[in-house]
Each structure stands twice: as structure tokens, then as C-alpha cells.
């Protein structure tokens, strides 16, 4: 990668254990299978509204998902299917949410862009660029005040680094020395515009880290070993009271920005180069080369496929949400009544 080679080479971290590697692979394979199905359902008109796939970016969510402890918090964006699954949220309610069914994770009230599962400490997917960085700080602040050994991880895209909330959030996290890890998934594109055309520095996150007194950390976001290592070290640092980290993970989305966008605005050779670096087959090859039994990998792949099939069935079988939900949960009494 040009951009990676431009930056000082970090020493390769030690490879994770075989068990961790298998978990990383399983996690990526599940995400991939899930999102391919979501795309099919979108084309069939069964996923209404919009959906933003993370196809190609799985290694980031997987690396963190495996490194996180159950008590840690995740905040992510509208492109959050992967991060949600990575926290162990079951597939069926996620699929059902995309389809606007009663079984949905939020019974259809949030939709694809707002996946949230508080029991899994998946604290929400946010659709206004930048806002959730400030909210994630609040969870980390709360952990600190409560003296709880929890860390908050907050994912966002390259384009997000140019909005005001990014700046406010990073500065506050640094000043308050919060236990938080900010993860910028630099997939080189905002919606249809390249990040390089609208950003004053080459590395939108790493290039800004010193403005918050932080070390620039640039990693290969398509390498699950690298994302896991970066996650483990940043989480440890945060848990030990070392304050925030800002990690820029270089990656690429295989498809378009959202819905049925074919992503045709991107140069063919750029797309081809990144497809060749698909995080899943490359990781599979690495595991096989390292002596992992291919049968085990095949079983992982088959299990993921079965899980997706089952989730799809369950979601399809679910009815549309109860219409009474329109008037529920505006307020904590369960209702929507603004008058008395």
C-alpha cells in the first residue's frame, strides 16, 4: 500500500493465538455471509429504506470484536452491521430490523442505520456523521467516574474527520484522559467523493492525532491480525488509565456507499487492487499456510451460511411491527403523550 509505506513501518506484532485467529476468521466470515444476504434481500425489495454494507471492511470490526471484553462499549455508524454482529448480537433480530419486522432488534423503529443492543453493550449506530464520537466520550467518562474497568470503542469513517464534532470529541477525550479508542476506518471514500479531495492532510485521522496530543497510529485495516493487535494494545492502554487512542485503519468498501450504489465513480484499478487484498481470502490463506486444518475453516464457513439462512427464515416469518409502536417509547412511561 502506497500510503502505508509512506508512514514509518511499525514492527510486526506477534501473531495472535490459533484460537483467536479462528475467532477472527469466523467473525469475518459471518459478517460477509450476513451482508451478502442483506444485499440480496435489498435487491428483492425486502430490505426497505437504505443499508450501508461493510463488505471488505470486516477485518476492522472483527479485530476489535474479538479483543473486546463483554463489559466494554461499542458505538458505531450507519455502516454498523459488522460491528453489531461482532458484539455477539444474534443475526435474526438484525436481519429482521433491516426488513422492518416485529422481530427486529428495535422492532423496526430504528432500521438499518440505528442498530442498538444495550444488553450486548452495542450502544448504538448513529447516522449523523460525527455525533457519536461525542456520545462515546460520555460512556467512557461514566466508566471513569464509576471506577469501572470498561473501555469504549468508537468506529467512524474517514469523512467524519472533517466535521466539527470529531474535533470536539478528540480534544475532550484527551483532556479528560478517557478510556476510549477511536477507530477511523479509512475506506478512501465518503459517499461518492474521495476523502483526499477534501482533506488537508494525507491521513485524515493519523495526521490529526498530534493535534490532540496523541500518537499517530496507522494500521492495515484489511489484516485481522493487525487490527486485533492494535485493538488489544489500545484497549489495554485505556484500561490501565493511559487515556484515549486514535487508530486509522486503512481499508476499502467493496461495494457502493449504500443501497444499490454500484460504486462506479471509483477507478477500476483502485477497486481491483483492493479486491485483491480482500481481508477474508487473504486471511484464510494465511491460516492455511500457518498449518490450520482447512476442514475447520470449511466448517466455519458452512456454519456461518447456515446461521444466515436461519436468521433470514426467522426474519421473513416475522410480521410487520405492531402499529401501536408508533406511539410508544417517546418517553419513559412507554408512551408518546406530551400533554396532560
Amino acid at each position: 500500500m502506497t500510503s502505508l509505506s509512506e508512514s514509518p513501518a511499525a514492527p510486526a506484532p506477534p501473531a495472535p493465538s490459533a484460537d483467536v485467529r479462528l475467532r477472527l476468521y469466523r467473525s469475518m466470515v459471518e459478517m460477509r455471509a450476513f451482508e451478502k444476504r442483506a444485499y440480496d434481500l435489498f435487491l428483492q425489495g425486502l430490505v426497505k429504506g437504505t443499508s450501508h454494507l461493510g463488505l471488505g471492511q470486516e477485518a476492522v470490526a472483527a479485530g476489535f470484536g474479538v479483543a473486546l471484553r463483554p463489559e466494554d462499549y461499542t458505538f458505531c455508524t450507519y455502516r454498523g452491521h459488522n460491528h453489531t454482529l461482532a458484539r455477539g448480537v444474534p443475526m435474526a433480530p438484525v436481519m429482521a430490523e433491516l426488513m422492518g419486522r416485529q422481530l427486529g432488534l428495535m422492532a423496526g423503529k430504528g432500521g438499518s442505520m440505528h442498530l442498538t443492543s444495550i444488553p450486548h453493550r452495542m450502544m448504538g449506530s448513529y447516522a449523523i456523521v460525527g455525533a457519536h464520537l461525542t456520545i462515546a466520550n460520555g460512556a467512557a467518562w461514566s466508566s471513569k467516574l464509576r471506577g469501572a474497568p470498561e473501555v469504549t470503542v468508537c468506529f467512524f469513517g474517514d469523512g467524519t474527520t472533517n466535521i466539527g464534532a470529531f474535533h470536539e470529541a478528540l480534544n475532550l477525550a484527551a483532556v479528560w484522559q478517557l478510556p476510549i479508542v477511536f477507530v477511523c476506518e479509512n475506506n478512501r471514500w465518503m459517499e461518492y467523493t474521495p476523502i483526499s479531495s477534501v482533506t488537508a492532510v494525507a491521513h485524515p485521522a493519523a495526521g490529526r492525532a498530534p493535534a490532540y496530543g496523541l500518537d499517530p497510529i496507522l494500521i492495515d485495516g484489511n489484516d485481522a491480525d493487525a487490527t486485533f493487535a492494535a485493538a488489544a494494545s489500545a484497549l489495554e492502554r485505556a484500561r490501565a488509565g493511559g487515556g484515549p487512542s486514535l487508530i486509522e485503519a486503512e481499508t476499502y468498501r467493496h461495494g457502493g456507499h449504500s443501497r444499490a450504489d454500484p460504486g462506479k465513480y471509483r477507478p477500476d484499478d483502485e477497486v481491483a487492487a483492493w479486491l485483491a487484498r480482500d481481508p477474508i481470502p487473504t486471511y484464510r490463506a494465511r491460516l492455511v499456510a500457518a498449518g490450520v486444518d482447512e476442514g475447520a475453516l470449511v466448517r466455519v464457513e458452512e456454519a456461518a451460511q447456515e446461521a444466515v439462512d436461519e436468521a433470514t427464515e426467522q426474519a421473513m416469518a416475522s410480521p410487520p411491527p405492531d402499529l401501536a409502536l408508533v406511539h410508544r417509547d417517546v418517553f419513559s412511561d412507554g408512551g408518546a403523550t406530551w400533554r396532560r
Binding site: 437504505t50 427486529g104 423496526g108 449523523i128 466535521i163 461518492y192 477534501v198 408508533v326 408518546a336
Partner: protein
Amino acid sequence: MAEMTYRDAVAYGIAQEMARDPSVVFLGEDIGSAGGVFKATVGLQERFGKGRVVDTPISEQAILGAAMGAAMTGLRPIAEIMFSDFFAVCWDIVANEIAKARYMTNGQVALPLVIRSGNGGGARFGAQHSQSVENWAMAIPGLKVVAPSTPSDVVGLLAAAVRDPDPVLFFEQKSLYATKGDVPDGELVDELGKAAVVRHGPAATVVALAAMVPRALAAADELAREGIEVTVIDLRSLVPLDVTTVATSVAATGHLVTVEENPRLCGWGAEVASIVAEENLFDLDGPIVRVTTPHVPLPAADALEDAALPNVARIVEGVRRSLA
């Protein structure tokens, strides 16, 4: 006369103004090479160049600040805020800066600028991408607020907005982008602040805006089938507000029903209703009924969203309630 979509009318209208006046510039996210996320600005960058049609970072405050500063110094910018929900991230520039500059400087500053934005629900995008926020703008002194319901109004009102010496917020209803209508040939320039009476009838006055206009007309059709003929007014502009057209109609019908997509509290419907309750109370023969989205954030699922937004049945029922 050409038939075109509401979506295409946007680019057509912007092009009309950019071709006419070299001081008109256009900026926003993904508006240029991509032609806009709603494909409403296709072809403009090719035609007018990257200097005048500019893709920006995701920096809404910087976008509107740039528009304001440029308007203060000789340009007539059109800025796009992709979804009107995103006004919340740059509301300071709109409400505290753009709206107040002329007044605070005792008339020294003129701000001939337009801010276009995709407004409203119906696309199952969920609560952060579906709001109708024209009432946020109406509540701020110093802004003009326009919301067309047809392709020809898009062109004519956009031209009027661009030529207006004051800042205009121009709400394009997302659910109308795919609708079609005739646009007259030649230069089209409308006037801000004139409502359109789009259907005449003596039984009641139904006032609607943007996507609620076709729904109000459909409700009028349904009522007509049982012999109730209502007047339907398309407000088209909230500031200036055509109180005269509404009041004249209410004087004739004795009944007022407002139909708005925004949530219940403090919308333009409340404003129109309370103007009539203050100035024309004794013209009324029945309660003023407001049909709105209930006071809830919009849900994402299609079934839920459809249940939340005002529909023909609720408008019909609203008219009946006023007549009862």
C-alpha cells in the same frame, strides 16, 4: 412545455440561474461529480465547472459559513444541506448568523443566498434522515422559507429564491423527487409568498405544503365523491406567508384544516391556525383541525412510517371533524 421530474427540475432550475448570472455559485457534499445523492444536481459541474460547482468536505458549518461570507462579498451562493435533518449540525450559522446579520448591522449586510435541502419522510430512512424541519426555519426571524410541491414550482420558486436579496431556505420534499409535472419552456421566475389555490370548493379550506399537497388533493377527491367540495391551498412559502389567501378562503368556507408533515407541536399549522383564531375567529363555523405527524420521531419500518405520516384517510377525517 416539457414534462420532467421534481428531481430533474432542481438541476434545471439551478442551471437556469447559473447560466444567467455568473455570480451564482453552488456548493455542497457530493453535488458535483456525483450529481447529488438524490441525483438532483446531475450535470451541473460538467456544465459550469469545478470553480462554480464545488464538492465540499463533510463540514456543514463550513459550507454554510462559506455561503454566508461569499454572499456578503458579491456572490449569490446556493448551498446544499443534503438531508434537512443535518441543519441541526449547522443551525448556528443559519439561525444565529445568516438570519440575524442584516438586522444586527442595521441593514449593512445583504445575504442573497439559498440553502436547498432534502426534507421529509417516506423513504424508510428512520428518525435522523426523515424529518420535516421547515418549522425550525419558520421560527427564526430573518429567514425566508419555501417548499415547492411541483416541478414547475421547483424551477420558478428556486429562481425567485436565487434572485431574492434575502436568505431563503428551500425545502425539497424527498418523497416528491420522483413525481412528474409540466414545466413551461423559457425562463421561469415565480414570486415568493404567494399561495396557490389548487382546488376550489365551498365546504372547507384545506391548507397543505409540499408532499401534503397531493395528499390533500386526493382527500378532496374522496370527499367530493360524497358531495363535500373543499378548497385546497398549496402554501408554497411559509415566509413570506400568504395569510390573505388563507383568510379569504376561510371567510368563504368557515372551516380550516391544516395538513403538515412535521410533528405535532409548534409547526406552521399551529401558526396558521392561531392567526386565523386571532384575526378571523368569527368567520369560523367549526374547530380548526390540524392534521400532522404525531409528536414522535419517525420510525423506520415501512408499516410504521406509513402509519405515522398524515395520509388521505386522516385528512378526510380531519375535514369531517371540522364540519361536524
